[in-house]
């Protein structure tokens, strides 16, 4: 068998985090009863007209600047015409001729070293509504709540060679956009969607092979599987003397194979032309300067700074910086005087766990930094022990409030009175002769049970380390 090289380019759609839609004032919030986040504009009523949301331009241009693109200074929108009921006007307002960003790149890290992936263009467009088939009534219904939600589509050059490259590229793009605050980039929820263009060619060949496009694959794992499958399929076709057909495929993640998609319109002639309802988009120097000034510290820079400034492990740094909001929280808590290592442990431990339990991601964290800082200080000062702190965190997580006040109101502070503790320990020793005997016979682990019993009797208001110390002393003296 000949040796083949896989060539992959990506088209990535990202839903922007604007509060309102791209061409009207309707909310972009998820959920809501069908057709409640709608108006004459986003339902394609006769006579309605689009008005461009300036924030969309800001986000799109920022992503372009962050990915080293040229920004189109005199741009336009175009209409892409096709009939489908999820598209209320039967044309989508998009950009074909003069996309807002062109000729950029991102650098990705691969096992073979750094690789540069070119960005052909980034353009702005509107999302479509959602079709729902009602089997009971045997009819199709349309929900236009998503119609008009702003998207940017980032089209890469065919510069990727493997699933690893693709995932590194997507991760890089996701981090960049997320750090800009332009989108939360969630593949599962569809706020980031990737179409994979894949072809194979004999190793060393100049000419690109015929590509197939795989649509809307919604996890990194699925992308890797789909790429492996499609690469093998195309090589099989070529090896058996056939030729690859240029077509659009859908990846079935459960069955693990691709199959041709039914096209939305019979003929693929979108009859693009400049959108006459919108005026040309002129981007000024001042506008770009402002965006440049607003550029955040991106992940790589942040990781580098953390390595220099904090005594954290590489994996802690990776964890914290994997979500902009997490890193922001970390920095805010540390700025309030909390110990960086302690802060990192809380973030990567209990806080991630709480987020996961709620089905949220690291970028959804919304705990006020001052509460976490206080919680860490309470533990540091010995006012509460770590276990109490965990339950306090859970309480203030559900119902945000000052942990200091919470500890006070619930009487959770460690009792510094050693007399009380000593009395309880003596009672515990008296009540548990078997454990004491075990301890004496060398089973030193038995002390753990006694510590537990003491803590229970103290209702948690004791420092386990102090309990352990005092218990060991008493036992040794018996």
């Amino acid at each position: 068998m000949k040796e083949y090289e896989t060539v992959i380019g990506l088209e990535v759609h990202v839903e922007l985090a604007t509060k309102t839609k791209i061409f009207c004032g309707c909310s972009t919030a998820f959920g809501g009863a069908p057709n409640t986040h709608t108006c004459p504009v986003c339902t394609g009523m006769p006579g309605s007209l689009p008005v461009l949301n300036r924030k969309v331009v800001e986000y799109a241009a920022s992503v372009g600047l962050a990915t080293h693109c040229e920004i189109t200074r005199y741009g336009r929108f175009d209409r892409k015409n096709y009939f489908y009921p999820d598209n209320p006007q039967n044309y989508q307002i998009s950009q074909l001729y003069l996309p807002i960003c062109r000729n950029g790149y991102v650098d990705i890290e691969t096992p073979e070293g750094s690789r540069r992936v070119g960005i052909h263009e980034i353009h702005m467009e509107e999302d479509a509504g959602k079709l729902i088939h009602d089997d009971f009534l045997d009819c199709s219904l349309v929900d236009y709540n998503r119609s008009g939600v702003p998207l940017i589509e980032t089209v890469s050059e065919p510069d990727m060679r493997s699933a690893d490259d693709v995932i590194a590229y997507l991760e890089k793009l996701r981090m960049t956009i997320q750090y800009l605050g332009a989108s939360d980039c969630k593949l599962q929820e569809g706020s980031m969607r990737a179409d994979v263009n894949l072809s194979v060619r004999e190793k060393g060949a100049e000419k690109l092979g015929t590509r197939a496009e795989m649509k809307n694959i919604n996890s990194f794992r699925a992308i890797a599987r789909a790429i492996d499958y499609e690469r093998a399929r195309q090589i099989d076709v070529l090896e058996s003397g056939g030729s690859v057909v240029q077509e659009t495929l859908r990846w079935d993640d459960t069955a693990g194979y691709t199959y041709p998609m039914r096209s939305k319109e019979d003929a693929k002639d979108y009859r693009y032309f400049p959108e006459p309802d919108l005026v040309p988009l002129v981007i000024s120097d001042e506008f770009l300067d402002q965006l440049r000034q607003q550029m955040p510290e991106f992940r790589e820079e942040k990781m580098e700074r953390y390595r220099r400034s904090y005594d954290l492990t590489e994996s802690e740094i990776e964890q914290i910086t994997s979500a902009r909001r997490m890193a922001d929280l970390f920095e805010a808590v540390v700025d309030l005087g909390a110990d960086p290592r302690e802060t990192a442990k809380w973030l990567n431990g209990d806080i991630l766990r709480l987020l996961k339990e709620e089905g949220k991601s690291a970028n959804d964290v919304s705990l006020p930094p001052v509460y976490l800082a206080k919680l860490i200080q309470l533990v540091g000062a010995g006012t509460i022990n770590r276990n109490t702190a965990k339950s306090v965190l859970e309480a203030i997580w559900k119902d945000p409030q000052d942990p200091e006040v919470y500890v006070q109101e619930h009487g959770l502070a460690i009792v510094p009175d050693n007399g009380a503790l000593e009395k309880v320990i003596e009672e515990v020793i008296a009540a548990n002769p078997k454990s004491v005997a075990d301890w004496k016979s060398g089973k030193k682990k038995a002390v753990g049970f006694l510590v537990g019993q003491t803590m229970k009797a103290m209702k948690g208001k004791a420092d386990p380390a102090a309990v352990n110390r005092m218990l060991s002393e008493k036992l040794a003296r018996l």
């Binding site: 394609g44 006769p46 006579g47 689009p50 349309v142 002639d269 009859r271 693009y272 005026v279």
Partner: protein, 494 residues
């Protein structure tokens, strides 16, 4: 005196002065419609009950001193492609035969705010595509001057309503002459303002880059008053312009008799060549003479590229229309075919049955010129031609204040003679379409009658934002001309 004998400003003054009430004014117009519209068929929809309710409400607000404007209390007829909240808006098409908009067009909002009463919707060529109002799904409108003739189009209903005394004032829309040409045929005064002057929000689009809403009235001053009522920047329309000079009526009332002294008016040679009907030519010569009498210098000038305007216009308008009309698909509102199998069959049948032949023709034409492989040769070339035509006008306006042109090569043709030869019908738009391509303002003022008693209007064209100059010249032309006659039906007893 009949209600419809008043000009709009006279009617409002009478109401505000307490000589008449708004319900009286509105019911006066409704009475005229009842008496005449079976013959003229200027209206698609009239909602009498709602009109009377609005009238009472406006009356109260006038009495309370909330409404004091010069058109307060005046009933206005609205072309049926301009959305009116709660009032059927059909574009004279089967496709929207049952469509009741949930919102008002911006122009309608502004008229309501000025205290005008929106009582009915006027007939038009289907989706504004046509020059005769014969392509209406609901049947043609008749020319009030001679019912065997068309009123012109596409705002034929609005112009016929004003001419017949079935409306005091009206609004129309103009994509390639749809206000100016029927104004000429019906002997009324109508203006298409500079592109961007009136918000297009709520105007059901035909050719988005060409469409403008404008007034249709009995005289120049009413036109100026209505235009300043509906003009103004609107954030909902990105192509709308913030102008500070829209107090047209005030500027006009300051005009003196000697207003035209030194004004230079050009007569483009290519507009007065072959193809111009001799009777129309005679009326135009008279109009030129009247303007000279009032002090203007009126002389031939050169305007280039005249013959390219029609192909450029039909390519651009149809291309935009083919896309604008895609939303009419039977899914969300309007007509849906009864029997179909599957989505594509539903689309095909709905659109084949819902649109008339002229609309289908223009959708096909527009889809063709946007198709890959033809886009550069047709659409892109037409856009370039559009820019060159604008440059030709710029050249003329370096030397001249205004252009005087016919609005159409002939007076109103007979009903049934135009649609058999669409190409010939398209060619008759020669004097109007280039104004839309260049985004300019243009106005038609009744200037004379043919031997058969059909009106002929003179068109004044200005540079962008030169409405004030047009109004001033038009007013002097109107004064020099004297009272314009009325069709027999106007005075017909109600």
């Amino acid at each position: 005196m009949k209600i419809t004998e008043y000009t709009a400003r006279e009617l409002s003054a009478a109401i505000r002065g307490g000589d008449m009430t708004v319900p009286e004014a509105v019911s006066g117009v409704l009475t005229e419609i009842r008496a005449k519209d079976k013959e003229v068929h200027a209206y698609v929809t009239v909602n009498e009950d709602d009109a009377m309710r609005q009238a009472e409400n406006v009356q109260k607000r006038i009495e309370a001193g909330e409404l004091t404007g010069p058109l307060a209390g005046v009933p206005v007829a609205v072309k049926d492609n301009i959305c009116t909240n709660g009032l059927k808006t059909t574009c004279s098409s089967r496709m929207l035969g049952n469509f009741v908009p949930p919102y008002d067009a911006e122009a309608v909002t502004r008229m309501r705010q000025a205290g005008m009463v929106v009582f009915g919707k006027t007939n038009m060529d289907e989706f504004a595509m046509g020059s005769t109002t014969e392509t209406s799904f609901f049947g043609p409108t008749k020319n009030p001057w001679n019912e065997e003739h068309v009123p012109g189009g596409s705002s034929g209903g609005s112009c016929a309503a004003v001419a017949a005394g079935e409306a005091v004032i009206a609004v129309g829309s103009d994509t390639g002459g749809s206000i100016r040409q029927p104004s000429s045929y019906c002997g009324v005064t109508g203006m298409k303002p500079t592109y961007g002057t009136v918000s297009r929000y709520g105007l059901i689009a035909y050719g988005s880059s060409l469409d403008q809403i404008g007034p249709v009235a009995k005289d120049v001053t009413d036109c100026a008053l209505l235009l300043e009522t509906i003009a103004g920047h609107d954030r909902k329309d990105s192509t709308s312009i913030a102008r500070k000079d829209t107090d047209f009526s005030e500027r006009l009332s300051a005009a003196s008799e000697a207003d035209l002294a030194g004004m230079r008016i050009g007569l483009p040679r290519d507009y007065y060549g072959d193809g111009l009907d001799e009777e129309v030519r005679k009326v135009m010569e008279d109009a030129a003479a009247m303007l000279r009498t009032r002090g203007a210098v009126v002389e031939p000038c050169d305007l280039g590229l005249v013959k390219y305007a029609i192909p450029a216009y039909y390519i651009i308008a149809c291309a935009e229309a083919s896309s604008n009309l895609e939303r009419f698909d039977g899914v969300k509102y309007g007509y849906r075919a009864e029997d179909y199998e599957g989505l594509h069959d539903m689309y095909r049948k709905t659109r084949s049955q819902g649109f008339g032949p002229e609309v289908r023709r223009r959708i096909m034409l527009g889809s063709f010129v946007l198709s890959s492989g033809y886009y550069d040769a047709y659409y892109l070339k037409a856009l370039r031609t559009k820019a060159l035509i604008k440059a030709e006008f710029d050249k003329v306006f370096r030397d001249y204040d205004l252009i005087l042109a016919p609005a159409a090569p002939t007076a109103a043709p007979k009903i049934g003679t135009s649609l058999q030869d669409p190409l010939k019908m398209y060619l008759s738009d020669i004097y109007t379409v280039s104004v839309n391509l260049a985004g300019l303002p243009g106005m038609t003022v009744p200037a004379g009658l043919t031997r058969d008693g059909l009106p002929v209007g003179a068109q004044l064209i200005g540079d962008c934002f030169a409405e004030e100059k047009i109004f001033r010249a038009a007013l002097q032309l109107e004064k020099e001309r004297g009272a314009f006659g009325r069709p027999a039906i106007f005075v017909k007893g109600a």
